[in-house]
Structures are given as structure tokens and as C-alpha cells.
């Protein structure tokens, strides 16, 4: 095996046998006749992941993402093919599933460590770190059943990270717990990436995928539909999704306040004002005034604006990348001088994010504005051009 390969999968397939009734399984053994339907979740997958690489896995529901992650996490055996995993794997797939309610927090830390094969002598040195990261304090000596669900998930996350895996498997839930801990957990995962560990990351959020992954695999019906750099693959995937949606119905996408799930935000976008409105003419100066409310002046944040056409085609993203992070409540303005949009209906989505542009504190979409058609040439954007004839 080559040293710098973390995971190599050769021709890996996973077939689930589906039985209609449990008795069919018995009949099959007794009569040696086929009583099941096969469902192919993965089909002849070849993947090589280098050490230190962050691989993204995208795909629709039922494409085989979870199966693939479970195979990497070693909880599921492939039906065919060869899987070589080089190093210890910890997964954030099902946080806290090894925990026992009657054990105290401390006991559960050791127990989880033993499950993954880490001797208690080695775990001992990490317990303090887990307890302080999870911020459970005194409660660590009480049985797990007395914990709130937030404490439970914080402990589970901290333990999964504390085993210091060589390979980390993350499914969707990049961040857990309340807003404060969400930020902390995303930072922790980023630090794992910076330490040169391998991360397998599966998400429906193309933003996270683009932000974190070096390489992306698009799974479609159990086979790799596309593999390549993050932006290439996500773009192709988004185009595919849009086409599919357009084929289904011509309904307009919903616009409005989009909150990141479960976020009881301490930083919120209070108001977004668009001028001129509702009709913007090509060449106008478009100003977006926004009022941001922060409950905690010590939390740094940055702002990003994304201009969309009404069908959610992303035209441009603009972040306050060149500015220092912002603190506290304030009003800021984004000016798009001499707007070079031609015809169509557009809207902007404003995001308040952490200083790394990873975690989204709050999002708000503006009301859509329309640029009337003034030129007979079709298209929605003006870019400088010159003919040489």
C-alpha cells in the first residue's frame, strides 16, 4: 500500500437484499430459491483518497451517500470489492449512539474510547480536554440520562473529535448544538483539516462543499457520476438539479427569510432596504442597506451578499473579505454602481457569517426587483465587449 493514501476502494459494490416478509429469508435458506429483491446501493465504485485531503460527497437522496460513508466508517461491509483504510476512523454520523444512559459522562467517554479500541490509559489524557470542550462542567460525573439533549450532543461531538482520528467522516451535521457551540464545532472541524487529517464530508449544502473540499464526488444511483475539483462538480450538480426542477414544474422559487436550521441566532439581519425599488434600470446605482443586530459584541462576523436571478441562478457572490471582521450591531451598505443587469427579475441574499465564511448566523433574501427590457438583444447581463471587424 502506498503511504500517502488514506482510503482506497476498488470496485466496491453494496447490494441490499430486500425481503417482503421475514419468513422469506428462512424459505430462501431452506429451499435454495431466490425470495428477495436486490437493491444496488453502490455499484463498482473506485475511490482513492489521499492523506490530508478533504473529499466531498454530493448526490440526491438515495444516491448511496450514506452507504458509502458507513462503509468508510466500517460499520457496513461491502458486498463486493476491496476497501483499504489506512488509519483510525471516527465518524460524526450518528452522534452518541454508543452512549449508555446509566453511565456517567466520564464513564461514557472511556466506554466510547474502548469501543473504538483506544486503551483507557490513553483516553485518560484526553478526558479533561473533552470535558472542557463540551462545557459540561460538574454534570460530567452524573449519569447521562440526566443530561439535556444539548449536553448530550456536545459530549458526543467532543468525544468523537477527542479520539484524534486520522480520518473523520462527517455527514451533513457540520455543526451541532446551540449557535455558540455550532460555531465552535465548525472551527474544530476546520482545525482538523488544517492539521492535515483526512476528512470525508457529505452535505447538501453546496456552499459548505465548495468552502471545505479539495475534491468532490457526485454520486448518482450508486455510481460516481462525476469527480473533480469542488467548483466543477458542484456547478454541474446544481445545473442538473435546476434542470430537473424546471422539468418538473415552472413554479417560481420561494423567496423570503431563510434561516439556517435551528439557529437561535445571536446575530440577525434586522432589515434590508433596496434602492431604487421595485424597478431598477440597467446602469442605475443599486444600494442595499442592511441593519445587523448583534446580541454579543465580542462575536466577530462578516457579511456576504449573493445576487441571484429569480430561478436561483447565482450570478455573483460578494463578501466583506477585504475588511476586518465586524463587531456589534451596525448598519452597512453595499453599493453596486452602474448595475449591468439587462432584463429579468433578480434578488439578493444577504448572509451574516463567521469570520471564516463557514458558519451562517443568519440569512435574508431581499424582495425581488425587476430590470425592464431595454435592448432587443436577449441576455441578462452586460459585460464589456469589443468587436474587431
Amino acid at each position: 500500500m502506498i503511504e500517502d493514501i488514506a482510503i482506497s476502494m476498488k470496485d466496491v459494490s453494496k447490494v441490499y437484499c430486500l425481503y417482503q416478509k421475514p419468513i422469506d429469508r428462512l424459505k430462501e435458506i431452506l429451499f435454495r430459491k431466490r425470495y428477495h429483491n436486490e437493491f444496488v446501493a453502490l455499484h463498482g465504485l473506485n475511490i482513492r483518497i489521499k492523506k490530508g485531503e478533504t473529499l466531498g460527497i454530493i448526490g440526491e437522496n438515495g444516491a448511496g451517500k450514506s452507504t458509502l460513508l458507513k462503509i468508510i466508517a466500517r460499520t457496513l461491509k461491502p458486498t463486493n470489492g476491496e476497501v483499504n483504510i489506512n488509519g483510525m476512523v471516527s465518524s460524526l454520523l450518528e452522534l452518541g449512539s454508543g452512549f449508555h444512559p446509566e453511565f456517567t459522562g466520564i464513564d461514557n467517554i472511556y466506554f466510547y474510547g474502548s469501543l473504538l479500541g483506544i486503551p483507557s490509559s490513553e483516553m485518560k489524557g484526553r478526558v479533561a480536554e473533552v470535558v472542557s470542550f463540551a462545557e459540561i462542567g460538574e454534570h460530567i460525573n452524573y449519569p447521562l440520562k440526566t443530561y439535556s439533549s444539548g449536553m448530550h450532543v456536545r459530549l458526543a461531538f467532543s468525544v468523537a473529535m477527542a479520539v484524534e482520528p486520522d480520518i473523520l467522516v462527517v455527514d451533513e451535521a457540520l455543526s451541532v448544538g446551540d449557535l455558540y457551540f455550532q460555531k465552535k464545532s465548525t472551527d474544530k472541524i476546520l482545525s482538523v483539516k488544517e492539521k492535515g487529517k483526512t476528512i470525508i464530508f457529505c452535505s447538501h449544502s453546496m456552499y459548505y462543499i465548495n468552502r471545505l473540499c479539495d475534491r468532490v464526488i457526485w454520486l448518482k444511483n450508486g455510481v460516481s457520476a462525476m469527480e473533480g475539483s469542488a467548483h466543477e462538480v458542484t456547478q454541474a450538480y446544481e445545473t442538473y438539479q435546476l434542470k430537473k426542477e424546471a422539468a418538473k414544474s415552472g413554479e417560481t422559487p420561494k423567496v423570503g427569510r431563510v434561516k439556517s436550521p435551528g439557529a437561535a441566532s445571536s446575530i440577525v439581519i434586522h432589515d434590508v432596504i433596496l434602492t431604487p425599488f421595485p424597478n431598477v434600470r440597467s446602469g442605475d446605482d443599486l444600494t442595499v442597506g442592511m441593519e445587523i443586530m448583534s446580541m454579543d459584541d465580542s462575536v466577530p462576523y462578516r457579511v456576504a451578499a449573493v445576487l441571484f436571478r429569480i430561478d436561483e441562478l447565482r450570478i455573483i457572490s460578494i463578501g466583506t473579505r477585504d475588511h476586518e471582521p465586524l463587531y456589534g450591531s451596525r448598519k452597512i451598505t453595499l453599493c453596486l454602481p452602474s448595475l449591468q443587469l439587462k432584463e429579468g427579475t433578480f434578488f439578493l441574499k444577504i448572509h451574516v457569517m463567521d469570520e471564516n465564511f463557514v458558519h451562517i448566523y443568519d440569512s435574508q433574501a431581499t424582495v425581488p426587483f425587476t430590470v425592464p427590457k431595454e435592448s432587443i438583444e436577449p441576455g441578462f447581463i452586460n459585460i464589456p465587449y469589443r468587436w474587431t471587424i
Binding site: R25, K70, F111, S114, L116, P119
Partner: protein, 255 residues
């Protein structure tokens, strides 16, 4: 290896803790239930049916029952609970990669530990009756062989039952049959000749008879017994490990 020991320890504590979670008297119930059962048998056999189920006149019938009942309990509980352990721990089996074979091993050990409380209870009663003797310590090797048998049988069932859940129902009947086809309630001589063959086919008979010989008759079981017990224990352990490791990989698929 130390990690295996650690894991077994954790699962043992886990099992015992969850068993007595919320019960005030805890271990008390581990003894009370079987003692009640024994009293029932005693009343039924010696008072209602007026039979003499065992041939040893010097030993009261209650002590005859007590001498092997807790060992039997270890076997039957160990097998029954091992059989369910994969299904009961489905979450863990599906989601955390760890040596799953530890589950039936630790659950069997847990059942044995709890039954040993009963055995100690019996030894106390036996001693107070002035009947105990030093050579009783020879039950230890028998117990070890019996434990190996239990672990093997437990693994075997733990591996198969997730695939054939009906087997779990059948296990109850088989255990019941094994109980009545072994000299726990009555001595071997009390069983009619033509049925006695069946009794000898029952591995439990081997262990139970050995306990009777050591505890009640103060003799050692013959070489034949030791050989048969060793063979039986080895066979089940071998089968258990073999079948379990073979079916191990499929658990996550079928649960």
C-alpha cells in the same frame, strides 16, 4: 487484549446497571425470584404430589433443588439473553465499529455473575445445615467448563437469531425441555429407563450430574464425565466462534 477486557467490563457494568436501574432492592430480586420458584417446586412435589423425586435420603429435597438450580439459571438466562443481545444492541452494532462478539460474551458473563449470588446463597444455606465440605471446591472446574459451553451456545444463538428471529421463540421451548430432561428437579434414577437416553443427550445433564456428585455425594465425577464435558464445551465454543465470525459481517444489513 486489555482493550477487550475493558470492553467486556464496560458491557458487564452496563448490563447490570440497566438491569437494576430504578429498582431499590436491586440484587435482592436476583435471588428472590428463583427462591420463590424453588419453594413452589418443593411444595408441589413433596406436599401436593407426595413423590420422592430424589434418591438421596440424607439431603432434604430443597437442598437437592438448590444445589443445581442456580447453575441451571446461569445456563438458561445466559443462552436466552445472548440470543437477543445483537437485536437489543442494534444501534450500537449498526453504528459503531467494534468487535461485536464481545456482546454475547459479556452478557453471558453477566448472567453468570448474577447467578453466582444465588450459588453463594445456596452455599450459605448448605453450610448452616452442617452439610458443607471442603471438596465442594471441585465445582469450580465444572463451572468453568459450563461457562465455556454457555459462551459458545450464546454466541451461536446470538449470531443466528438476527437472521431467523423465530428461533428466539423456539429457544424458550428448547430451554424448558432441557430443564425437564435433566436431573435438576429429580435425580436420574427417578427418570424411567426409556426416557433416560434422552436425558443423556442433553448436555446440561453432564454438568448437573457433576454438581450432584461433588456437592451431595462427595465424590468426583468419573473420567468419562470430565471428558464428555470438555468435549461438549469445546465443541460449542468452536461452533459459536465459527458461526459468529461467519455471520458477523451481515448484522448491519439485516438489523
Amino acid at each position: 487484549m486489555t482493550n477487550w477486557v475493558n470492553l467486556v467490563k464496560y458491557f458487564l457494568i452496563k448490563d447490570i446497571k440497566s438491569r437494576y436501574a430504578g429498582s431499590g432492592l436491586g440484587m435482592f430480586w436476583t435471588i428472590m425470584m428463583p427462591v420463590f420458584q424453588i419453594l413452589l417446586y418443593w411444595v408441589v412435589f413433596s406436599t401436593v404430589m407426595r413423590v420422592k423425586p430424589h434418591s438421596n435420603a440424607q439431603i432434604p429435597y430443597v437442598l437437592f433443588l438448590l444445589s443445581t438450580y442456580f447453575f441451571w439459571l446461569a445456563i438458561s438466562e445466559g443462552i436466552a439473553r445472548s440470543g437477543m443481545t445483537i437485536i437489543e444492541n442494534a444501534e450500537l452494532v449498526k453504528k459503531v465499529p467494534f468487535p461485536i462478539i464481545i456482546l454475547p460474551i459479556s452478557i453471558t458473563l453477566s448472567c453468570y455473575l448474577q447467578s453466582m449470588v444465588g450459588v453463594i446463597f445456596f452455599i450459605l444455606v448448605f453450610t448452616f445445615s452442617g452439610l458443607s465440605h471442603l471438596s465442594m471446591f471441585m465445582i469450580v472446574p465444572v463451572l468453568i467448563l459450563q461457562l465455556i459451553f454457555s459462551v459458545g451456545a450464546g454466541m451461536l444463538l446470538a449470531a443466528i437469531i438476527p437472521y431467523l428471529r423465530d428461533l428466539q421463540q423456539i429457544t424458550g421451548y428448547v430451554l424448558q425441555g432441557m430443564f425437564f430432561l435433566s436431573p435438576i428437579l429429580y435425580s436420574l434414577e427417578a427418570i424411567p429407563e426409556n426416557l433416560r437416553v434422552l436425558t443423556y443427550l442433553n448436555p446440561v445433564t453432564l454438568y448437573v450430574e457433576s454438581y450432584h456428585k461433588i456437592i451431595l455425594e462427595r465424590t468426583l465425577p468419573g473420567l468419562w464425565y470430565w471428558g464428555a464435558m470438555a468435549f461438549c464445551s469445546g465443541l460449542f465454543l468452536f461452533l459459536g466462534i465459527k458461526v459468529f465470525t461467519k455471520l458477523n459481517d451481515g448484522f448491519a444489513d439485516i438489523l
